[in-house]
Amino acid sequence: MTSLRPDISLDDLIVCPTCDAVYSLDVPEEGDRAVCARCNTVLITNRRNAAFRVIALSLTVVILIIASAVFPFLRIDAVGLNNSVSILDAAFAFSEGLLSLLALVTAALIFAIPLCRAMLTIYVLAPIALQLSPRKHAKQAFRLSEALRPWSMAEIFAIGCAVALIKVADLAEVSFGPAFWMFSVLVVLVVATDNFMCRWSIWKALDTS
């Protein structure tokens, strides 16, 4: 084992969380990214006004997600009978016995978790963007938001819709409600938000408190 030279501060180092490679810290220029040379994990993303952009996107996500849960999502018509459903109706289609457990899980994956992440992001980033000191429990909030990241499945639900539509297309006529379009926009925004967010910078900003 090599002992560390005493003249290097630990704050001047960055370690790749994926493969444990050590680098001396070199913050990339605006518009650039720092990437691990060994495993290509993105370590730092430096985009101009990233915090403001992420906040703007997250606000839009909150509005769209609430709206798309309330308004009708899809409507089906067949020989005089019709039925229209919202996103939450889809989740609560699992209603018999043990399947109701699955209803809660589905509602969380497509509605509650994406909504929760967007709100946590705003809570954490707003003070950083305005150069104020972080809010109370901002670290815990960001921790939770990061832990929820793999469980936010709005975009997967969107592709599920496409598959379901084609499956019923020969059975009945399907039309889109306003929520369908909102949800489509939402999916793009959720992905964009994640690409703008630089975790390293956020943790660093939370640290100086």
């Binding site: 493969c19 009978l81 289609a93 921790r143 599920g160």
Partner: protein, 209 residues
Amino acid sequence: MSQRSAKEMGLVACPRCTKVWPIETDRCERCGKTLHSRSPKSLQRVWAWWVIGVMCYIPANILPMLTTRTLFRSEDSTIVGGAVELIHHGSVGIALIILIASVAIPVGKFFAIGFLALSVQRPSAASQHQRQILYEVVEYIGRWSMIDVFVVAILSALVQLKALASINPGPASLFFACSVIFTMLSAQSFDSRLIWDRHDQMKKSSAHV
């Protein structure tokens, strides 16, 4: 490659907020995460979730995923059965999506995670880079298996046309969702830094020869 790992340098990096600490640090002071140079019992947890995931996948394929009632008949279909039926109706593309998301991805994931867990314990023919890519693919693609559960949710909510036609979810949907969730937890338990350790050790032993 001249890359040294944090472990070799007597350091440990927080996997959540990437802050660097001396190796004997127990807890990240910035974000509160318990620090381990390599997660202890990472592989045990990987295998534990893996086994439950595989176990849930079996009833998910045997039990009915959907029950379709039309005017004259009621029909249960399993995951594969539903896809075969789609092929008979001419929707080969949709059948392929369902088969890839519900069969190819989960089964491929079981093998991939099993392979990765074994490969860090014994010499492997695959290079570190190949295994790193495999790990990233598994992490990224695992969530997409959820698509079939969402399709069932949308279909069951939408196709409720009284006597004419109705679709209801079957018990397989619950098992399938559990299988996807447990496999995601299995992949998350895997400490990807282990992939690169082996590399470091081999480099050292070859230097001694």
